[in-house]
């Protein structure tokens, strides 16, 4: 394994792929997302781990997303995610509404190679009826004790931005271990990286504790600033609120959304409008 150009990295995401993406506070691969938009990827099944924001809204607005699996989609304190909202309201998006721990448990089931995971709570939520694959069984270790089962979630691709990687492909994520869970659970893991780590991350016991070993990583691209305009746990940078406020305003209409893309110099290939 070694570093590869960003275009080569995103070329490994096929149309129709099930792609796991992290929440806005946990290393979103925005540069890779812009590259995907330019490529005109189609029919993605996005799995938000467990929620999504700008990244999902952009991909939805550009017609790249078929299925949205998430516990929540919003722009956080900026407000609702306008393209998500409109597409969902118009029924143009196959929604798989979830709750955060159900997505975590589904990924953990995939990580453990088991078909399902039991989970407490959730019963009585309308989510249960919506989700065909969620089953309620009687707890074999209890009496008259219904418990929910959620199936394993096995993404084709995990895509995220990380602070450090070394030339062997080891990737440091620190306490953001949902990224490690995504890598364990996914068939392919693609990572854009803020900075090269000169050495072997696994050889240092303090760095090793927050490192995803290279044998889970399919490809890494050096992409400094690859999370912008979102904030990043890696360098402590915060989200560019003004950027998001402007996006939220423009993207309330389809015209405004495409104006935003133009302003960002994102050329869409074959927009499916």
């Amino acid at each position: 394994m070694s570093w590869q150009p960003l275009e080569q990295l995103v070329a490994q995401i096929d149309d129709g792929a099930r792609v796991a993406i992290p929440p806005d506070y946990s290393g979103v691969a925005m540069a890779a997302t812009f590259a995907l938009l330019s490529r005109g990827v189609r029919d993605l099944h996005l799995v938000a781990v467990p929620q999504a924001g700008l990244q999902a809204d952009l991909l939805i607005g550009a017609g790249c997303v078929k299925i949205m699996e998430a516990a929540g989609v919003s722009l956080g304190e900026i407000g609702l995610a306008p393209r998500f909202r409109e597409w969902a309201q118009q029924g143009r998006l196959q929604m798989m509404d979830a709750t955060c721990p159900a997505i975590q448990s589904g990924l953990q089931a995939a990580e453990k190679g088991i078909p399902f995971m039991p989970i407490r709570g959730i019963l009585g939520s309308d989510l249960v009826a919506l989700r065909d694959q969620w089953q309620v069984i009687d707890n074999p270790y209890g009496e008259d004790d219904p418990i929910l089962l959620v199936p394993a979630i096995r993404p084709d691709v995990a895509l995220f931005h990380a602070p450090l990687a070394d030339s062997r492909g080891n990737v440091w994520v620190g306490v953001r271990r949902e990224l490690m869970l995504m890598a364990h659970a996914s068939a392919t893991t693609l990572v854009t990286v803020e900075e090269n780590y000169d050495g072997d991350l696994l050889a240092d016991p303090v760095y090793a504790a927050g490192t995803i070993p290279h044998f889970y990583i399919t490809g890494t691209s050096l992409a400094p600033g690859g999370m912008r305009p979102l904030g990043f746990f890696g360098d402590g940078s915060v989200t560019d609120s003004e950027h998001l406020i402007r996006y939220e305003k423009l993207a309330r209409s389809e015209e405004g959304f495409f104006q935003y893309l133009e302003e960002q110099k994102i050329q869409l290939a074959g927009v499916n409008q």
Binding site: A70, G72, A88, R120, S125, R177
Partner: protein, 251 residues
């Protein structure tokens, strides 16, 4: 309210300070409080409890750097709750009904909602597992407090045989404090904020609730609470919510 709170002595306080104190009174004994993202008033309440506890109460604020002490990824919060280590949690709701069902998914029929909201996040889970869930929605209106939610993100009550160790205990709005009685599946008016009347509460609430004829008035912040809010809490919260701190605490 900030100009001249009707039941106040000489104290001047902001609406945010009043609500933070009112929320804090609901979770006095909590050892570990968790606050969702983008929730500065509940965060202030939690940090006030921490200040009053002399630092022994733990506060986790999702989405912050400073008050996020988990080290096992996104799942840890939920595992932590299921281990019985989370005592209190604040949650909002696009709609809240008289049975304490909450809706964070959308207004109208799913999926072609009239207004699609972000989604249920962790509510469907934490609502069952955290002993003291405090519902906080500033807006008190028939739009929010409805007879029946359009979508149940999380149910207020569960059948007796279902495993449930937690649930909603309180509802705090800009108008009232209500206490939830899970056995009756009904709210009871606990107190009305200074300057408001029972008639106004009836007028602006879309669901039925129990009350006495003359419900108490919600206590206003004490001098000690205000000192802590403007001192300890403000210092702790400023890095997370700088704009809010200036507005709420005037510092």
């Amino acid at each position: 309210m900030s100009a001249s709170p009707s039941a106040s002595g000489n104290l001047d306080y902001s609406t945010e300070e009043f609500l933070a104190v009112t929320l804090a009174e609901r979770v006095l004994d909590a050892g570990h409080l968790v606050v969702g993202a983008n929730s500065p008033i509940p965060a202030s309440a939690a940090l006030l409890i921490q200040s009053q506890s002399g630092g022994s109460a733990e506060v986790t604020i999702l989405g912050s750097r400073e008050f996020m002490q988990f080290t096992d990824g996104g799942k840890e919060l939920f595992d932590f709750a299921a281990q019985g280590r989370m005592d209190a949690f604040f949650v909002g709701g696009g709609q809240i009904d008289g049975q304490a069902n909450i809706n964070l998914v959308g207004i109208g029929d799913y999926p072609g909602s009239k207004l699609r909201l972000p989604g249920s996040f962790g509510s469907a889970y934490l609502y069952h597992l955290v002993p003291n869930v405090v519902l906080f929605r500033k807006e008190h209106s028939r739009r929010v407090l409805v007879p029946k939610v359009d979508f149940v993100s999380a149910p207020g009550t569960s059948p007796a045989n279902q495993y449930r160790v937690g649930g909603p205990r309180w509802l705090v709005t800009e108008l009232v404090v209500m206490e939830f009685n899970a056995e009756k599946a009904r709210f009871r008016l606990h107190s009305i904020h200074p300057g408001h009347t029972l008639e106004e509460v009836y007028d602006r609430t879309g669901f039925e609730f129990d009350t006495t004829e003359q419900p108490p008035i919600t206590p206003i912040p004490s001098a000690d609470q205000l000192t802590r809010l403007r001192g300890d809490v403000c210092r702790a919260l400023a890095p997370v919510y700088p704009d809010f701190c200036q507005k709420a605490f005037g510092v």
